[in-house]
Point group: C2
Chain length 261, copies 2
């Protein structure tokens, strides 16, 4: 890697910013500065990666080579506007934001999207995380590829449209899945049953999906259209109207999805 692409500035200090900047720091990159409007987050992350920090967008450093933006999509425009990036390379990390969202801020821009769910308190092996990159010029793409390959073994180029499709799929396979874990945990708690009895089931369900196409692996009353059990479960959810509504609509979705073909 060229030495002149080593000074980074992180704009954002949330879960993704934390994991990504730590991975880059551990891979030998210098991170000059962290910006976050939340002082605590900025300070904590800056300490971890040996960087300065600021909570004022106007104080973002001018001396970085690459600016990595890891903000809520809707905040990107506000935070970046009014700062002169002097055509340095700006990179966002969002699944949904198109590459073009950075066009107003520099002549050099790109995307580095790590497909994973990040929680600050969890250690994660970044080398196994698929990272999808995109850039406005081949030169910028090469720079991003070099950077991404220092932290992940699974780097590919993907355009904005496909990245968005991937993000949507990830919402289903991760965010929605986790919500069902939460609902199950809450329901068990209301019945004085510890959530950990479900661990082997959660584990096996996730593992199986990686070996058998999940449509083929579908089990349970809905796919068998076992009305006796379905009705019995709906009755057991009488005191939990939100769960009951979801049980109904998802069972219907499962049944219909498996009627096709």
């Amino acid at each position: 890697m060229k030495n002149n692409i080593q000074k980074l500035c992180f704009i954002g200090a949330g879960n993704l910013a934390t994991h990504l900047s730590v991975a880059l720091y551990n891979a030998g990159f210098s991170i000059n500065q962290v910006y976050s409007k939340t002082k605590k987050s900025a300070e904590m992350l800056a300490r971890e990666i040996n960087a300065d920090y600021t909570i004022k967008a106007s104080d973002i450093t001018k001396s970085a080579d690459i600016y990595i933006v890891a903000l809520k999509d809707s905040a990107v425009k506000d935070v970046l506007s009014g700062f002169d990036f002097q055509n340095k390379l700006i990179v966002h990390t969002s699944g949904s934001l198109p590459l073009s969202a950075l066009k107003p801020f520099s002549e050099n821009y790109g995307v580095l999207y790590p497909l994973q769910t990040f929680s600050k308190t969890r250690e994660i092996d970044f080398t196994e995380i698929p990272v999808f990159i995109e850039a406005n010029y081949p030169e910028n793409e090469s720079i991003l590829k070099l950077i991404a390959e220092k932290i992940s073994k699974k780097v590919s180029v993907l355009n904005s449209e496909k990245r968005k499709s991937l993000h949507i799929a990830a919402v289903f396979a991760c965010n929605f899945v986790n919500h069902f874990y939460s609902l199950a945990a809450g329901y068990l708690d209301a019945h004085d049953i510890p959530f950990d009895v479900l661990y082997p089931l959660i584990e096996e369900t996730a593992r199986k999906a990686q070996e058998i196409p999940p449509k083929e692996a579908q089990t349970g009353p809905a796919v068998r259209f076992d009305e006796t059990i379905i009705n019995d479960h709906l009755q057991g959810l009488e005191q939990f109207p939100e769960l009951k509504a979801l049980y109904n609509s998802i069972s219907k979705s499962i049944f219909e999805y498996h009627q096709k073909e």
Copy 2:
């Protein structure tokens, strides 16, 4: 274990029956006979566990000590009616069927419910599967406990009501979860993106739920109420009306669930 409880008859030859009978067979139990109305299933399983088989309910053997019923709940009554079990121990394996469902067929009955998702083609470590037992007499409970502990390290007694709650939670944490994997796979396929890019995400989501309460681990646009992304995703789902409807209702559910407390 006493020698006189070693002769088993399996009524049913589906996924659960297959995994459970194979585990029992490997633990040293003799299985006299397998019954299934589907000849192919009966024959295949019987061969695997060195048993006879029948496809006629009236030909179920009279010489077994314990009858293990692993049928669709709605089929149990039909198959068992008209057979004289001579008050031998009958055990069902269903999460939802109450213990009392077996009362009409014998004076000795119980439940042995392994909490796992079973596919015939997947090997599974039965010793890690939580098994929940219940019986009409303490003697029968002891017999079931002895049997269950031969195949699993995680045996507990649980009453019918709690077992049903557990089964409902399992539908959320396994069947619904797997459906979302399927939907994600189908959506990616329609966009020419291989499903395996989601494996590390699926794996981490499942692992995280076993270490952090899943409600705390929730990530994604819905919990942040990132309307920009949500609307963008809904637009990306325009050609997939069923996915769009689910995206909408589950995002709403996530947001509301996290507003509480």
